[in-house]
């Protein structure tokens, strides 16, 4: 402790004052006095100012990745608009813990203010709504993921869904829709040239190879437990995995047209009910995927 105060208390014992004592001892001598060595409070003050500046500066560095918007992360379903999402997320990871297919992961410190914030790498593991009730929204303690966005919070046109999305797995249930008001993003056939359907090709085998760890719910195999994609090989004369595996009703369809030379041509077409879950991107057997999710993008004709 170098925070000494003047001794003016009657009860204080004459202890713990080495500096004062030595000053008194040398006061009578004629020799020039060496300055009494006391911890410099000025130096400490400057040091502390640097500490404050350094800590705040380092913390504010977190703004760089956010301002640069280098990453347009796909957020879990029900996420608020990005700036509201980063502000309200408490970085606890409860959404990660409840996801039955482990689609949600947390961002690292290189995302700055986005540290500990959940996102989905759709190509590796998409959200297939295996949980039925959108468990991550239920788990979120701060309303970052929400069923009902408060009116005061921003909503971009094209983000709200026209109607509640129909979950194919629950088609026969009394309540077959998902409680989801806005889309996470929207799918787009970004590489039509590499799309097997566009080329008129079929597909046989494991959609993503033997090493792929992603899982999907195949209702006909198991209503409640997702199955590894590699354990569910396909056999299609015309590849339509993005259409058949889409968990949402009326979100994507295979458009068939007849060309001038009379040949039939196919192309997957994304519809307005697309919620942007990413299953089509995950299951697409070509590499890189022909169909991708434009994260956090609105529906636009």
């Amino acid at each position: 402790m170098n925070e000494r105060t003047r001794d003016d208390s009657p009860a204080a014992a004459p202890e713990e004052q080495p500096a004062a004592a030595s000053a008194a001892a040398t006061a009578g001598s004629r020799r020039p006095q060496a300055p009494v060595r006391r911890p410099s409070s000025r130096r400490r003050f400057i040091r502390s100012a640097f500490l404050i500046g350094g800590v705040l500066g380092l913390a504010m560095l977190g703004y760089v990745p956010v301002a640069g918007a280098q990453r347009t992360r796909l957020r879990p379903p029900g996420a608020l608009e990005e700036s509201d999402f980063l502000a309200s997320c408490i970085k606890c990871g409860q959404c990660v813990q409840v996801c039955p297919v482990a689609a949600i992961r947390l961002d690292d410190i290189d995302s700055g203010f986005g540290i500990g914030v959940p996102w989905i790498d759709a190509r590796a593991q998409a959200c297939d709504f295996s949980c039925d009730a959108v468990q991550c929204i239920l788990a979120c303690p701060t309303g970052s993921l929400t069923y009902h966005k408060p009116a005061a919070l921003a909503t971009r046109p094209g983000m709200p869904l026209a109607r509640a999305p129909l979950l194919k797995a629950k088609e026969k249930d009394a309540e077959p829709t998902l409680n989801l008001a806005e889309r996470m993003g929207v799918a787009r056939l970004s590489r039509p040239d590499s799309c097997l359907a566009v080329q008129g090709k079929g597909f046989r085998g494991q959609a993503r190879g033997a090493d792929f760890r992603g899982r999907l719910r195949y209702v006909e195999r198991d209503r409640w437990r997702p199955v590894a994609v590699r354990d569910h090989p396909y056999e299609r004369d015309l590849c339509n995995l993005c259409v058949s595996e889409c968990p949402i009703g009326d979100a994507i369809t295979m458009l068939a047209t007849v060309a001038a030379d009379g040949r039939r041509q196919y192309q997957p077409q994304v519809l307005e009910q697309c919620v942007g879950c990413g299953v089509c991107e995950m299951i697409c057997p070509v590499d890189p995927a022909a169909i991708v999710i434009d994260a956090r993008q609105p529906w636009a004709i």
Binding site: A13, E16, L56, R105, G112
Partner: protein
């Protein structure tokens, strides 16, 4: 020391000597007046008969590890006891939300949903009961890691290879307000970006991250430059829980009559300014509660050879 004086000291002011000393305490101070040689002999005698024990440290480490592992295993083994991480979690379904994280989110987002409020209120009541900054020493994973690295710092310092550079404790108050202000102005939970508590807690549950590199840098800074710098001069979480602890009945109490003023407690303490009262002649009364900045870690209770520092629950003595 009055309650307001204890708060002032927590915010960064130097402890003052008491203006009024009770007659009983004055008498004890009088009786302790003696020659330097006698005083040294007395201190030596107390030290010689000290029974070295780490009772409270061991209990605390056990609790800290247990709490953090409960988070980890709740997820890994899916036992669902304590889901989430230290910033926010659910204990068998009940929302628990870290007070400083809640503050950052509330200030940045300005929209408080019911679950957020319930979780924050629950944790507030919990830590009022349990002693505020006891969160730091009994739960925070950075605390225990920093404690281990502090041992390294002290070893190096003893060999004069490094020395402890003190900062002004007011820096933490400035940073607390600065981070609150930044949350309001920027609309981001700025502090969470560098919070080693959040980073370590998430790393323990969700696996290692690059952010651990930042935590390691902090620990190196503490070993090489300034002892326990983050907890002492920076962490706004400690400040938030300190304010909660100001009204807590659970605290360490100093008993003047038992004290030989060796000062060992101040050497092991994370926040030695709260133990200013143990300096010979400083105590204003026979019993003094230690201030809200105290983390209730119990190192002083363990180290005191004469039982002058004990855990105490205010009002309990009157009840019993």
């Amino acid at each position: 020391m009055s309650a307001s004086e204890r708060l002032r000291v927590m915010f960064g002011a130097a402890p003052l000597k008491p203006e009024r000393v009770t007659p009983a305490a004055q008498q004890v101070h009088q009786l302790k007046r003696m020659t330097k040689a006698d005083f040294e002999a007395l201190k030596q005698h107390a030290r010689d008969h000290q029974l070295v024990n780490h009772k409270w440290r061991n209990r605390r480490w056990a609790v800290l590890l247990l709490v953090n592992l409960l988070f980890t295993f709740s997820f890994w083994l899916d036992i669902q006891m304590l889901e989430g991480s230290l910033t926010a979690s659910r204990f068998v379904g009940f929302h628990l939300i870290d007070l400083n994280s809640a503050l950052q989110v509330m200030l940045a987002h300005r929209h408080v949903i019911v679950n957020l409020f319930i979780g924050t209120a629950t944790v507030f009541v919990l830590w009022v009961a349990l002693g505020g900054r006891s969160f730091c020493s009994w739960v925070c994973p950075y605390h225990i890691v920093a404690e281990w690295f502090e041992w390294l710092h002290l070893k190096l310092a003893a060999r004069k290879l490094v020395s402890d550079h003190e900062f002004h404790r007011g820096a933490r108050s400035v940073l607390w307000f600065a981070f609150a202000l930044l949350a309001v102005l920027s609309g981001y939970t700025v502090f969470e970006t560098i919070s080693p508590t959040g980073i370590l807690s998430r790393a323990l549950i969700y696996g290692p991250s690059l952010a651990l590199g930042w935590v390691l840098l902090l620990l190196l800074f503490e070993v090489l430059y300034s002892r326990r710098a983050w907890c002492r001069y920076v962490c706004p979480i400690g400040m938030t829980y300190g304010m909660v602890g100001a009204v807590s009945p659970l605290r360490v109490e100093y008993r003047l009559e038992h004290c030989f003023h060796e000062g060992d407690c101040r050497k092991v303490c994370l926040v030695p300014h709260v133990l200013d009262v143990v300096i010979k002649g400083r105590a204003a009364d026979l019993k003094t509660p230690i201030g809200p900045d105290c983390t209730r870690c119990g190192l002083c209770v363990d180290v005191c050879p004469s039982g002058a520092l004990v855990f105490d629950i205010k009002g309990l003595n009157r009840l019993l």
